[in-house]
């Protein structure tokens, strides 16, 4: 089975979120491939796209050598028998109005593979295999009568009843109690041997992944940052993010307590992911070439804002945040001629449009009215913006002070960021800071695995 270049999955519009961005991997038969990452890294989206439950924006999914990316729903239905999914929440995935037995037998009937009698016999058989005993008795029970572990067993039984070749398991044990997780994982391994299954195992729990997976891919913000043999990665993680993830897991060994250097902050918004290496703003071993950009300066200013004095100085000299823009690797801070903030400008033009729109509709010739109102809306907004800007313009001396202050702030920033600054200058009404240009490092081969990091 091959799944090359699943690229640029588009989730919802607007705004365009690249939930997954350029993910490629192949999954040989009989393997358990783990997709590991924190919430929002795109692992679930990948799992669903592989099954065509989510449509990729670009890229391809190949199953047994056949490109299934553009198959029609009718063409893909026969394939669905070979590809199944197990969800995180067994309670939500079982129909509360159907008995457990009916739920498990249902796929056989839906696909027209068996009569009701045969389906029931087959369901009972699978229930036994899945450890749902006494099967006869549980067959007529409803999901609400079962424990979480039993429900997940039922969900697994339903997935394997069609004898699939490939199963996507999306956090199958995350909602279960610790004491029964192992049993469910064992069951999945048993069934794998029995039916020659291939698993795509999606999890946020590295320990589970280590235990069950042959190969793993660590995902961060829609990209794979490290992929390779599970043993190799766990013994010697290369990517700083993988290292951080492993270090952060609380260990049940009281002697294993250690000092942790944790990544700063949280996973940024996927709508505008960081430039260069997406992990660079949080990376403990970042270098000046990792992709520093204006957003990192905004984060730095936020950090400084925790101190009241610094916050007041920054605000007084550099002006409000609404007057700072990131433009690729260039930070622009407007000092002279401060205009109307973009957001206010939008509401302003909307208001003008509203007013002129009413006029347009009242005009005897509606078309002419629309034209006049549109033009006047533009003119009025622009005039107001200009008036506002001249009213707030500052003197040249302020720009010099702002340039020096910004340079000072950047000099005292954490080293990699400070060293990434190319220049800080005054350009007309603006103070401009430019950072070293960067590109995404791409996946590089390192000691039997691929790592997306400039260190290698």
């Amino acid at each position: 089975m091959k799944l090359p270049a699943l690229q640029r999955l588009l989730m919802r519009e607007p705004p365009v979120v690249h939930a997954v961005d350029g993910v490629s991997f192949t999954l040989p038969p009989g393997q358990i491939f783990g997709l590991v990452g924190e919430s929002g890294c795109g692992k679930t989206t990948v799992g669903r796209t592989v099954l065509r439950l989510v449509e990729p924006t670009s890229g391809a999914v190949r199953f047994e050598g056949k490109d299934i990316t553009h198959l029609k729903e009718s063409e893909i239905r026969p394939l669905r028998r070979s590809m199944q999914i197990i969800f995180q929440d067994p309670h939500a995935s079982l129909n509360p109005a159907m008995t457990i037995g009916q739920s498990i037998a249902d796929p056989l009937i839906v696909h027209g593979l068996a009569s009701e009698e045969e389906a029931k016999a087959r369901a009972l058989e699978v229930m036994m295999e899945a450890g749902l005993s006494p099967a006869e008795q549980l067959y007529t029970k409803y999901p609400a009568d079962l424990s979480g572990g039993q429900k997940q067993r039922a969900a697994i039984a339903r997935a394997v009843i069609l004898r699939p070749k490939f199963i996507v398991a999306d956090e199958p044990v995350a909602m279960l109690d610790m004491s029964i997780r192992a049993r469910i994982l064992e069951l999945m391994l048993e069934l794998k041997d029995k039916y020659d299954l291939t698993y795509l195992f999606i999890t946020h729990d590295l320990a589970t992944a280590k235990f069950i997976c042959d190969r793993i891919a660590i995902m961060y913000l829609g990209r794979i940052v490290e992929v390779g043999d599970a043993k190799a990665i766990f013994n010697d993680p290369k990517h700083p993010y993988t290292q951080a993830l492993l270090a952060a897991i609380p260990s049940p060994d009281p002697d294993a307590r250690r000092l942790k250097t944790l990544p700063k902050g949280e996973v940024p918004d996927a709508v505008s992911p960081p430039a260069g290496c997406r992990f660079h703003p949080r990376c403990p071993v970042a270098t000046p070439t990792c992709g520093w950009e204006p957003q990192d300066v905004f984060d730095l200013l936020d950090q400084r804002a925790l101190n009241e004095d610094l916050a007041r100085r920054d605000e007084a000299v550099l002006g409000p945040r609404s007057q700072m823009w990131g433009d690729g690797p260039t930070l622009r801070i407007r000092i002279g001629g401060i205009g109307i903030p973009l957001r206010q400008r939008r509401s302003l033009s909307a208001l003008v449009l509203l007013a002129t729109g009413v006029y347009a509709l009242l005009h005897p010739l509606v078309g002419l009215g629309v034209l006049v109102s549109g033009v006047s809306a533009l003119v009025i907004t622009e005039a107001l913006a200009r008036w506002h800007s001249t009213r707030n313009s500052r003197r040249r001396g302020d720009a010099v002070r702002a340039r020096e202050h910004l340079a000072e702030v950047l000099r005292t920033a954490p080293e990699p960021l400070a060293k990434a600054v190319r220049r800080v200058e005054i350009e007309g009404d603006w103070v401009v800071a430019e950072f070293a240009p960067t590109a995404d490092p791409g996946l590089r081969k390192v000691e039997g695995r691929e790592v997306r990091c400039v260190l290698y």
């Binding site: 957001r343 939008r346 909307a350 449009l353 509203l354 509709l361 005897p364 509606v366």
Partner: protein
């Protein structure tokens, strides 16, 4: 993180959206009335077969001989200039439609606003009390009230009120509108407001007394909906996680009900308020008939009876515009209450 847009930006965009909404509504009104059975010209003649040349002349006069798209453009640009045409019905033949409507509008607005005030205040209070005192005797009584009042026919309740409060007790006038000659000088046309503008408390009192029974009738019937919705939402919000968290922080129980549970329970109520206005207008027709209030509802009834096409069209256009305006206000109100809507 996504920061919320300002309320002003939301209001402005929502306001802009109201324009296409209005256009679509007006278009719909135009086409629906065109496909309705019954020829307005024939109706003018009250069932008798008129001579063809007269039919032709009437058609020309009404613009019915032009192609439909031209009729549509004509209609739209006229509507926007406040010209709703002239009546073709037997009661108001030849009179400007807008003139008739505008003379009746104040009475209906007074009735609607009053009823909405009654409905929302009674409904919200009973709903909150019922939800906060779940499963007590009071709750059972209020739930019963909510269901019963909602299914009571408006005219039945109206007549009951007239008999009890006007005829037996004699506390309030049985008729819907001021039946005297001593009206306040019309500024808005609404007697309550006009008498206030004249600073004449006696007049205001008279106007108000006339409003009480109809508003109570229509308002109480509509309040059942509020009672039930607010109660259901209160049950949800009073046990919500944030309410429990507030409890754990030592916030007094009374404040949890008023500040957390009540405000959150109102959010879904506000969003369906617009629908209630549509029902309110339908109810207003019956209420006006019951209390013989000379409002738009009554005018609509008359126009339907006399197949007064232009009048019906005019009234529907006015209703549509009011509903668009009201839903605009309600949506903005919703954004004021719930910051998540401003996104």
């Amino acid at each position: 993180m996504a920061r919320g847009r300002s309320l002003l930006a939301y209001a402005a965009t929502r306001g802009l959206l109201a324009i296409p909404m209005l256009l679509i509504l007006l278009t719909a009104v135009f086409f629906i009335l065109r496909v309705l059975p019954g020829d307005p010209v024939l109706a003018l003649w009250g069932g008798r077969e008129p001579p063809p040349e007269i039919v032709e002349a009437a058609r020309h006069e009404l613009g019915l001989d032009k192609p439909p798209w031209l009729q549509y453009l004509d209609y739209m640009s006229r509507v926007f200039r406040g010209d709703l045409g002239r009546s073709i019905g037997e009661f108001y033949r030849g009179k400007p439609v807008w003139g008739e409507i505008s003379s009746r509008l104040p009475a209906t607005v007074e009735l609607s606003v009053g009823s909405m005030l009654v409905a929302s205040s009674v409904g919200i209070v009973t709903g909150v009390v019922s939800g906060a005192r779940r499963d007590t005797r009071l709750d059972v009584v209020l739930r019963l009230y909510g269901t019963v009042i909602w299914v009571i026919p408006i005219f039945w309740l109206g007549v009951l009120f007239q008999i009890v409060f006007a005829i037996w007790l004699g506390w309030l006038p049985p008729h819907g509108r001021w039946q005297g000659t001593d009206f306040p000088h019309p500024v808005t046309g609404m007697y309550t407001i006009d008498s206030l503008l004249e600073r004449n408390p006696a007049h205001f009192w008279t106007a108000l007394r006339h409003l009480v029974l109809p508003c109570l009738t229509l308002g109480l019937v509509l309040s059942g909906f509020f009672t039930k919705t607010v109660r259901a939402n209160m049950l949800r919000t009073i046990t919500a996680d944030y309410a429990e968290a507030a409890h754990a922080r030592g916030v007094p129980g009374r404040k949890i009900v008023t500040r957390h549970a009540f405000r959150n329970a109102l959010v879904p109520v506000v969003t369906v308020l617009g629908l209630q206005f549509a029902i309110l207008f339908a109810g207003a027709v019956i209420t006006e008939k019951t209390f013989s209030i000379d409002g738009i509802g009554l005018l609509l009834l008359e126009s339907v009876v006399s197949k007064d096409m232009t009048m019906i069209q005019g009234i529907v256009v006015v209703y549509a515009t009011i509903i668009v305006g009201v839903s605009l206000v309600i949506d903005i109100l919703g954004a004021v209450v719930d910051p998540r809507i401003r996104l």
